[in-house]
């Protein structure tokens, strides 16, 4: 808990800028300290608790709020036209976007509109959500006013019911970890990954599936976030990991472990940055000019980003071609099915 309180002061400086940190592409942003200068001086973070789910009103507005929650937790199923990977919003914003220190949406809502040096103009919340789809979801930005955005805005707005606005709420963004004692190291990071992460995310980071459905999200590879996503920044990933991983036992890793394993995960190949200019070095110079991005760096003789799959959705087999998934859906009745099925838990091939 000491580390947690130590984070708070620095968190207050940055949290509003981070906002939807899980989807933020800080690649072109200045370092955190410089980002903070665009904000008003931040007083101590304000405590806030979102209303319970059962308080969603049973009216026309509440119906759209519920749509937003469904989009948030089952993103690829609910908005396949805008999603190009196997992730959902709540993979990075836990508890359906409600959990403090997991970039909760109620805190992001009161942090927008905000000036972002990345775009050079004041971004609305909706524009920020577009970025999530384009980068973290490796998909396509829904047009402004699209029902998908309206539902997600409504859900976030509802969660922020009663919150003051234009403030930094306690638990906004991800914690800002202090610099580790030792320079983050991929070899140590791999050891942490193998011991504490691979049980769920698989030895190759591709996630794991059970009964033909994804059970744990892929952290790299073609079905994960692309090179433009905020989670590709080692400092943001370290903060998320420290507070939230292993799932169910957050704040259990040391700062050093969180930095090391974040560097390991962010030193893996993933879908191309959609802003790719055709040249990795140029793309790095324009959009990843920060020590926190490994894009374009040489790792074990490989230039990261040089063999990245194209950004955006890739063709995938319809669910009818996945017998395990279809069988699972059929079998979710009340009665136990008659014929045994092979246990199909496995790492994503």
């Amino acid at each position: 808990m000491n580390a947690r309180s130590a984070c708070r002061g620095r968190l207050a400086l940055l949290a509003a800028a981070v906002g939807l940190a899980g989807c933020t592409q800080h690649g072109a942003s200045p370092p955190p300290a410089a980002t903070a200068r665009v904000l008003p001086a931040a007083p101590a973070a304000v405590a806030f608790t979102p209303p319970p789910r059962r308080a969603i009103p049973d009216d026309a507005f509440g119906a759209v709020v519920r749509q937003g929650e469904a989009l948030f937790t089952r993103t690829g199923q609910a908005a396949p036209q805008f999603v190009g990977n196997a992730l959902t919003c709540q993979n990075c914003h836990l508890d359906a976007g409600r959990l403090a220190d997991s970039a909760p949406l109620w805190a992001a809502w009161v942090g927008y509109p905000v000036y972002r040096s990345k775009t050079g103009h004041v971004n609305t919340f909706a524009e920020r959500l577009q970025g999530c789809f384009r980068f973290s979801m490796n998909g396509k930005a829904p047009p402004l006013g699209d029902p998908v955005l309206v539902a997600l805005e409504s859900y976030s707005y509802w969660m922020a019911t009663g919150a003051p606005t234009h403030v930094t709420l306690a638990g906004a963004g991800y914690p800002i970890l202090p610099q580790p004692e030792q320079t983050p190291d991929r070899v140590r990071g791999k050891a942490v990954y193998t011991a504490k992460c691979s049980i769920c995310h698989g030895a190759e980071g591709r996630g794991r599936e059970a009964w033909g459905r994804l059970a744990f999200p892929p952290l790299w590879g073609p079905d994960s976030f692309n090179w433009g996503a905020g989670m590709g920044n080692v400092n943001l990933a370290a903060g998320f990991i420290k507070a939230n991983m292993p799932l169910g036992n957050g704040w259990s890793l040391s700062d050093q472990e969180a930095w090391d394993v974040a560097l390991y995960v962010d030193s893996q190949e993933r879908p191309q940055d959609p802003r790719y200019t055709g040249d990795v070095a140029e793309t790095r110079a324009r959009f990843h000019d920060t020590p926190m991005s490994m894009y374009g760096r040489v790792v074990d003789g490989h230039v990261l980003g040089s063999v990245a799959p194209q950004a955006g959705a890739r063709p995938r087999p319809p669910s009818a071609d996945r017998p395990a998934a279809a069988a699972f859906v059929r079998r979710r009745g009340r009665a136990a099915p008659a014929t045994p099925q092979p246990r199909t838990t496995k790492e994503q091939p």
């Binding site: 409600r98 292993p246 169910g248 036992n249 246990r343 496995k346």
Partner: protein
Amino acid sequence: MRTVRRRALGAAFVFVTGPALQAQGVDAVQIVMHGNGRGAHACAACHGNHAEGNRLAGIPHLAGLPDAYLTRQLTHFRAEARDNPSMQVIAHTLTPAEIVALARYFAALAPPPPASVTAPPPALGIALAVQGRGAVPACAACHGPGGVGLGDEFPPLAGQSALYIRRQLEAWQQGRRPPGPLGLMGAIARRLTAAEIAAVAAYYEQQPAIPVAAASSKDVP
């Protein structure tokens, strides 16, 4: 009844004729039905002829649980790391080969049907199982939708005795059971209230277990 028994015997037949099992040289059915002759009494005496357990008594069903999970638990009992006097005594008399053979035998059986629904599951239990609460992840996040289980590490909860589930969560709270991979269940159980434990246990007792074959393919490179 006869059908179920035939299925169980069929599974046992597959088991004892499989090459891996022959290599063990252990007759699991003999131990299950009659004990091992060295102090372990018949598993079936408490867990039932089809390893269906006894819900009211809080005795878990073993049928269809992953063999690696069952092996781990028997090993914990043997080392007295998991607290249950009866099971500790029994596990002490089992050889490692017998533990493996028993685990495979039980894993190959079809799980029992879920408890008959006399009351709808408590809303609190559904919420915890499906959505979680704050930093407590949804049970389904690791144990699979409806608690069908996910690999060797996250055993099925569906159809398990509610009393048994409650006792296990309390054992984790009190450090009387090893907290499992990464210590996750210890960390999670300590954040649960008594009301949440009772509710989520009641929820899972009503969920249908999905039969699985003993052979589990889980890691594909």
